[in-house]
Symmetry: C2
Subunit: 213 residues, 2 copies
């Protein structure tokens, strides 16, 4: 078999390329993680069994061990995806033009939307007490840049005069709490879509509930 | 033993009166519930054992069964106390003079403080998925009047013009979420006291984070 015929062979070969194998592996990991996230959110960590997660995608538990690891590793992987989505939301908002206030609003809307999606809901619904010390430390290191981004949008906004002079830490806690909570109550089958909920909540937080006289 | 000497006897009798027995029973129940709430909050429901709760107050598990019942019954009792405190906060605010806006602020501050206390933290930290259908129904019926009170302060405030014309449901969700979240992060051993945190958060929610120009 000479080198010159290889390209032709590749396109019709029953053997997959390294890229195809990698894409296939990633698609399988993602399907397993999404199934796991949905079950963690619906039943809680302790009541979720990897057997049931595996069955929901038509495989068996050893397949999950092979692709993802044990139950805590699966949970941490789900939470990691949610936290990376939040980090990406912060980076995207940081790159936007406009005032720090506008960038904060943009970040907050996306932050709320992520919290209503499967992996973000895992982040919100998992209390620290459910995690091992190593798992907790890993997740804390992923959360730190998100908290720091929230804080820095706020500090910049206060400096430019577009955000009220409040304690930045307390303001960050208040905004994060309000926009974390939809991760608890949001159900895809009822009510407004996440983007509308996020916009309405950020507007309320921005304007305050006191009527302006 | 004639009826006429009974009052004197009662005060020196080694036998307790019905009132004393009832007070004693209530004090024991309260001590057990507080110990349980602290352990549920620190470890989560599944990782808490009634043996450990009992040991933390120097008794054994049968004592807890006798006074409170099984582990879910203990959790529901802790959450019930927190929810009754929230109901009382709504009733106290409703009885205050002033505008609906002022009553809402008063309710929200107390709401936040309850959520930072032991029994309120149990309410915040317990996901619906941890409860049996019967337990969930009982707690929902206790939560309903609290949600209704929040909603009615808001509707009255919108009518009197003191609260912004927002969707009352979305406003209630936003305020509740912001003031529920301290139940997750608050630690008695670090930072400001609950009353200061509550006041600062309600001020932020009232004024909004956008600077007024």
């Amino acid at each position: 078999m000479s080198a010159s015929v290889q390209p032709d062979l590749q396109s019709t070969s029953p053997f997959r390329t390294a890229e195809q194998r990698e894409a296939d592996r990633a698609a399988k990991r993602n399907a397993l993680l999404l199934a796991a996230a949905r079950m963690f959110n619906a039943r809680g960590f302790h009541a979720t069994s990897l057997d049931d997660v595996a069955a929901s995608v038509g495989v068996t538990k050893p397949t999950i061990y092979h692709y993802l690891g044990n139950k805590e590793q699966v949970l941490i992987e789900c939470m990691t995806i949610g936290l990376i989505q939040l980090q990406e939301a912060a980076a995207a908002a940081r790159a936007e033009p406009g005032t720090a206030m506008e960038r904060l609003c943009s970040f907050l809307r996306r932050y709320a939307e992520v919290n209503m999606a499967e992996f973000g809901q895992c982040v919100i619904r998992t209390g620290d007490e459910l995690l091992s010390p190593e798992g907790l430390e890993k997740l804390r290191s992923l959360k730190r840049p998100i908290d720091a981004a929230m804080r820095s949008f706020i500090v910049e906004g206060i400096e430019e005069g577009s955000i009220v002079s409040a304690d930045p830490k307390m303001l960050a806690f208040t905004l994060a709490g309000a926009l974390n909570w939809p991760g608890r109550w949001y159900r895809p089958d009822a009510g407004s879509p996440p983007s509308e909920i996020a916009t309405a909540m950020v507007d309320i937080l921005m304007q305050g509930f006191a009527a302006r006289r």
